[in-house]
């Protein structure tokens, strides 16, 4: 169990927790630039992480959808589906944490902002992916339709979360003219917490995805056995 191969394949899992513990301890103790939002600026280490986790999960899902279309193996369809499910979980957390933060900095939980609306539209597109799946009874057909839809969903996600918000000028949310929606005007010390935090969230999300995929695999293997 504790051979080198096992360690190499799994070390990133506890690393995610280690990075996030660092993100909490350092994120709460470093001194941050004096802005008009005060200590709530520290939310950037946690709230933004949700969106990077979502992006990583949807990217994984997108890759598996393409793989399904080229190879036709059901396991890839299952992995694409799980990626979207875990991604939606992190997306909902991102929306909720964003609304909490906005309430205290902008005074309202939601503004008519391209960042916010873009995120909401993207999540709805992925909810529709789940609805689509449940609407097609035949497994093979479902897999194919879902994979094609998922490719378009990913493009929509990139446009609405990655491109359109950066082009917007009429926005409160950081990161339009200054390039990245997440990085804004962080100083060097904040970046030293921010990057490990983001990596930690992404690894944690991938760990959860990994667990779900493996559980699904066992489930389908057992079903196969019952059929025999």
């Amino acid at each position: 169990m504790f051979n080198l191969k096992y360690i190499l394949r799994n070390f990133w899992k506890p690393l995610s927790i280690l990075l996030l513990v660092y993100a909490i301890v350092a994120g709460f103790s470093i001194s941050i630039p004096d802005t008009n939002i005060g200590d709530t600026l520290r939310n950037v280490f946690y709230h933004v992480g949700m969106w990077f986790a979502l992006l990583a999960l949807m990217t994984s899902s997108f890759i598996h959808s393409i793989r399904y279309l080229s190879k036709g193996q059901m396991i890839d369809d299952s992995k694409a589906n799980e990626g979207v499910l875990v991604g939606l979980f992190f997306g909902i957390l991102g929306i909720i944490t964003g609304m909490i933060w906005a309430t205290f900095t902008w005074g309202v939980p939601w503004t008519n902002d391209p960042h916010l609306n873009g995120a909401a539209v993207s999540l709805l597109v992925y909810f529709a992916y789940q609805v689509l799946r449940s609407a097609v009874p035949d497994a093979e057909k479902k897999a194919r339709v879902a994979a094609v839809y998922n490719i378009f969903a990913y493009i929509i996600l990139l446009v609405f979360v990655g491109i359109l918000p950066r082009l917007s000028t009429n926005t409160l949310h950081p990161g339009s003219a200054d390039g990245n929606p997440a990085f804004g005007d962080m100083d060097a010390q904040m970046r030293l917490v921010f990057y490990p935090a983001i990596l930690g969230w992404i690894l944690l999300a991938l760990w959860i995805l990994n667990l779900r995929n493996r559980a699904r695999k066992i489930e389908s293997d057992l079903q196969e056995k019952e059929m025999e």
Binding site: M1, N10, K13, P14, S16, I17, L20, V21, I24, V25, F28, S29, W207, I208, N210, L211, R214, A215, K217, I218, D221, L222
Partner: protein, 44 residues
Amino acid sequence: METENKIWVVVAVLTTILVGIGIYLFNLDRKLTKMERKMKEEKK
């Protein structure tokens, strides 16, 4: 760290929760590994 404000108590709580989640996921991982091994052996 501003000990006056006792923010470290919050840090301790959050760290505990996070480590707890880590242990939970770790155990789940091991459970799945065991099941995977069992499935493999039964296939043989």
